[in-house]
Point group: C2
């Protein structure tokens, strides 16, 4: 685990490059990144493992341990430089690039997602929004009406032309499976599902279903006990 390369932003990845991160480490690193991004917006230059722990509910020792596996990123007595740590984690997660998203459904949820910078902050860009409702097609959506709602029939063409890697489903539950099928046919391998549908997809496709109510149940259990 020793690591003697200077921490000055060299381009190579630290040890561990060749092996896949474990699920847990990858998930935690993503969360650190989220907090760091916000901390930076709040004008913080450095952050301690204890502060990161307060926001992520991950033990501070665990955080230092996760990070030290890839290099000595901190300064004893001071903490971690926010900018430097962001770029290190991005490198470790190999998500420094820009990735294009297509959004399905131009209802309240679709508009909320299109207008948010929650994806943009992490290098994702919503480059297309689709709906099957003719009344909605052509409508401007997102900040400054940057996007125009496209007809659903353009899916395949747009996925190819815009190099879409993620499909986000903000459609009614009954419509979700069909969109998933069409996305898979178009070659998309990551689907983010905001509907309640249980999606059936081939094994090489990743589905992430957002379940706020599940998270609430979980929080409530610890509140009630």
């Amino acid at each position: 685990m020793s690591y003697d390369r200077p921490m000055d932003g060299g381009l190579e990845l630290a040890e561990g490059t060749s092996e896949r991160l474990s699920l847990g480490v990858a998930a935690r690193l993503s969360r650190y990144l989220q907090v760091l991004t916000q901390a930076k917006k709040m004008g913080k230059d450095t952050i301690s493992s204890q502060e990161l722990a307060d926001y992520t509910h991950v033990n501070s020792t665990q955080i230092r341990r996760d990070l030290s596996g890839f290099g000595k990123f901190g300064k004893r007595g001071v903490g971690y430089n926010v900018d430097a740590l962001v770029s290190q984690i991005r490198k470790i997660l190999r998500t420094s690039g820009k990735h294009n998203i297509a959004l399905f459904g131009a209802g309240h949820l679709g508009k909320a997602i299109a207008g948010s910078d929650i994806f943009a902050d992490h290098g994702f860009e919503v480059v297309a929004i689709f709906d099957t409702d003719k009344a909605k097609i052509g409508q401007p959506v997102g900040e400054n009406g940057r996007l125009k709602v496209r007809p659903y029939s353009d899916l395949q063409r747009v996925v190819d032309a815009e190099e879409i890697v993620v499909g986000v489903l903000a459609v009614p539950t009954h419509a979700a499976q069909q969109v998933a099928v069409d996305l898979v046919d178009a070659g998309v391998k990551i689907i983010f599902n905001y509907s309640e549908a249980l999606l059936q997809v081939p094994p090489d496709v990743t589905v992430h279903t957002s379940s706020p109510a599940v998270d609430l149940l979980y929080a409530l259990y610890f509140y009630l006990t």
Copy 2:
């Protein structure tokens, strides 16, 4: 771990009642519940641990192990009865009751949440929606315009009158901390944060921040490697 009470819906909880569930078990049980709820809607009467595994990405042995800690809920060669398992898990999680939610922010996201049945399916009811924008106050929101947007100044009064246990923040990031402070003052202990703000709250208050982009980063890592 032996358990000889009939599985016929007796009211007592199985073994483990007195001890708190571990974080992991509680989280997984919540996810099983989500899948079971959807499976029921799809008309399934029984479900196998393997089917649950396919939808939750939890190993099927792990699922049987989680469940068998509380009783023998399954039938060998058949699987689990969906209805019975739902009520058993609800009992284990002690979330059989109804819990009231207040929603903050009547923008696209607030309206999307108010109009969804994602919370209702799990015994949560959105009973109030607030906004500070005078133009929005009084507007009907949710299915059949069931809710009218209330002025933010009514927060304390409504939390008391409606026995609100969860506050859901669908407000701009810059407004989130103030709402959190006011909710804490009103006695709410669970906050669900859809903004990007890092919220500062007392230790006895649970904050869950929804981070779709973080989940995407994570999915993308496994896609890219």
